[in-house]
């Protein structure tokens, strides 16, 4: 899309989108003659579109699958920020004060544990909230937490991280996962293996669920795409990353 509407169009992951949108906004202010369009669609969409050449830059919150690599061998993956997946519950849920092991998280999401009382909480049914099929966040979660066990099919699926936050903040029984960028006062993260998600714990590698966020180009980034990626990697760009709640690259 957008060959004609903007000088540069970036499409893909909804996780990455806030960073890129904000960066584009600032960048265009500095370069009033350029316009950068940002579209969502999810990681898969972004990868596909850049692969097909309909956009110059794709955004992804996961690495390319082998299938995608096969289809588009000439894609370059540029890391622009670090994200980590936080397991979140409603603030009124006292589970937020305890810590879970990865295995416990897995049992919760696979449906083995269905009631908070099994975790020492009150007698309330656990309501699982997960992302939709194809989401980068979901595939990261599944590969890092679930270890080949399926997420319970009783989990509510949400098409965006914001929707997960909205659901969890509105339901004291809910538990879900989302990128650290989406953390705010309406939900609370749970410590995993005793560690809460934060810039420090991620950088210290003590929080187990972190990942990189990428902008993908066809071949080496060049032209406006290259300049924009360079801008993101600059200090000013990394400040935006932090402002949006994600973790700067080293």
């Amino acid at each position: 899309a957008g060959k004609d509407s903007a000088d540069l169009v970036i499409a893909g992951s909804t996780t990455v989108q806030p960073i890129v949108t904000r960066a584009a906004e600032v960048y265009s202010k500095e370069h009033p003659d350029t316009s950068i369009g940002v579209e969502g669609g999810g990681s898969g969409t972004g990868i596909r579109m850049v692969g097909e050449g309909s956009v110059a830059v794709g955004a992804s919150s996961r690495e390319l699958s082998s299938e995608e690599k096969r289809a588009h061998p000439d894609l370059t993956v540029n890391t622009i920020a670090i994200d980590c997946i936080a397991i979140v519950v409603n603030p009124s849920n006292n589970l937020s004060n305890s810590s879970l092991s990865l295995a416990e998280v897995r049992d919760i999401f696979s449906g083995k544990i269905t009631n908070y009382k099994e975790l020492g909480g009150p007698d309330r049914r656990i309501v699982l909230v997960e992302r939709e099929d194809g989401s980068g966040t979901r595939s990261m979660f599944e590969s890092m937490v679930m270890n080949n066990t399926d997420v319970s099919d009783a989990a509510l699926q949400k098409p965006a991280s914001g929707a997960i936050r909205f659901t969890v903040s509105g339901n004291e029984n809910a538990i879900g996962y989302l990128g650290i960028g989406y953390l705010d006062g309406s939900i609370k993260p749970i410590a995993v293996n005793g560690v809460l998600p934060s810039e420090e714990s991620v950088r210290a590698k003590s929080y187990p669920l972190s990942r990189d966020l990428y902008l993908i180009t066809k071949g080496k980034p060049s032209g406006l795409a290259g300049e924009f990626i360079d801008y993101l990697l600059s200090d000013a760009g990394q400040d935006i990353v932090k402002e949006e709640g994600f973790i700067r690259l080293e």
């Binding site: 899309a1 957008g2 060959k3 004609d4 509407s5 903007a6 169009v9 499409a11 909804t14 989108q17 806030p18 949108t21 904000r22 584009a24 906004e25 316009s35 950068i36 369009g37 940002v38 579209e39 969502g40 669609g41 309909s54 949400k158 098409p159 965006a160 991280s161 914001g162 929707a163 936050r165 909205f166 989406y182 949006e244």
Partner: protein, 281 residues
């Protein structure tokens, strides 16, 4: 006396049912209004979004919606009115009209998401090179397909409402078919056709599902038909899903609803005109 009581009870129930519906409407309208009125202002309508949608306005979405609706109408209005004219004036009831009318009805019934699938595969994947893939043009045409049956139906009704006898009179005086259409049928049908078009605009403005795969959350002003863009409905969907800013989301919702209310008011005026015209029956 039994029947008297039954009568009274039934009437209470009927009044209640109407009351419930009014309450439902008021709660939907009121909810959107209360939450959205704070966000709305002239600058909200005419500014670009800022700070990652958290601030600023929804100008691109308004422009996008206008373009999409324009494309949809540009396709569907001539085709729809033409079809209606063909059905009423050039064909007597028969296999052909039945087929056309049935396909129009069927088209009207196709679920909106199926239009989305269809638009995606036809305009984005199959004709992507000509339409710019997921562009405003693709979205507009998809909506055009969707509102076509409405336009056919309302125009046909409008033309049929012009009394058959008036046509016969015209023919009886030696007028040709085209003269009759121009002088008798169209003037009589205009208010009805206009009502249908406005209804369809409302439908096109409010639809989300058919264009969701073609219109993304895009904070730029579309520069051409072949470019991507934003519409009020898709923006509302993404904003509320991403939970970026419920304020902007409700502002968008209220804007959308005001548009619909306005269109509704306009049709009301047309309908009055229409009923005035129908006095002849």
């Amino acid at each position: 006396m039994l029947s008297k009581n039954a009568d009274r009870l039934a009437k209470i129930w009927l009044w209640l049912s109407a009351l419930v519906i009014i309450l439902v409407l008021l709660s939907v309208l009121g909810y959107v209004f209360i939450n959205g009125i704070g966000a709305i202002s002239v600058s909200f309508l005419l500014d670009m979004p800022q700070n990652n949608w958290r601030e600023g306005g929804i100008y691109p979405a308004i422009v996008g919606s206008l373009i999409v609706v324009f494309v949809a109408l540009a396709f569907a209005a001539p085709v729809g009115v033409g079809t209606a004219m063909y059905l009423t004036e050039f064909r007597t009831e028969g296999l052909v009209t039945r087929i056309i009318r049935t396909s129009s009805d069927a088209l009207n019934a196709v679920p909106s998401i199926v239009f989305g699938l269809f638009g995606l595969s036809l305009f984005v994947f199959y004709l992507g090179d000509y339409t710019g893939g997921p562009s405003l043009l693709s979205a507009g045409l998809t909506l055009g397909f969707m509102i076509l049956p409405t336009i056919i139906r309302t125009s046909e009704v409008a033309m049929r409402n012009v009394p058959y006898a008036e046509r016969m009179e015209s023919f009886g005086m030696g007028a040709s078919k085209l003269q009759t259409i121009r002088n008798i049928v169209l003037p009589g049908a205009v208010p009805g056709i206009a009502t249908g078009l406005i209804l369809s605009i409302g439908r096109a403005v409010g639809e989300t599902a058919p264009i969701i795969f073609m219109v993304a959350l895009n904070p730029t002003i579309p520069k051409s038909l072949f470019g991507s863009g934003n519409t009020l409905t898709t923006q509302l969907y993404y904003l509320s899903m991403e939970g970026i800013s419920m304020k902007v989301a409700f502002g968008t919702a209220l804007t959308l609803m005001l548009v619909i209310l306005t269109l509704n008011a306009i049709t009301r005026v047309f309908k009055k005109r229409l009923s005035r015209n129908l006095r002849r029956c």
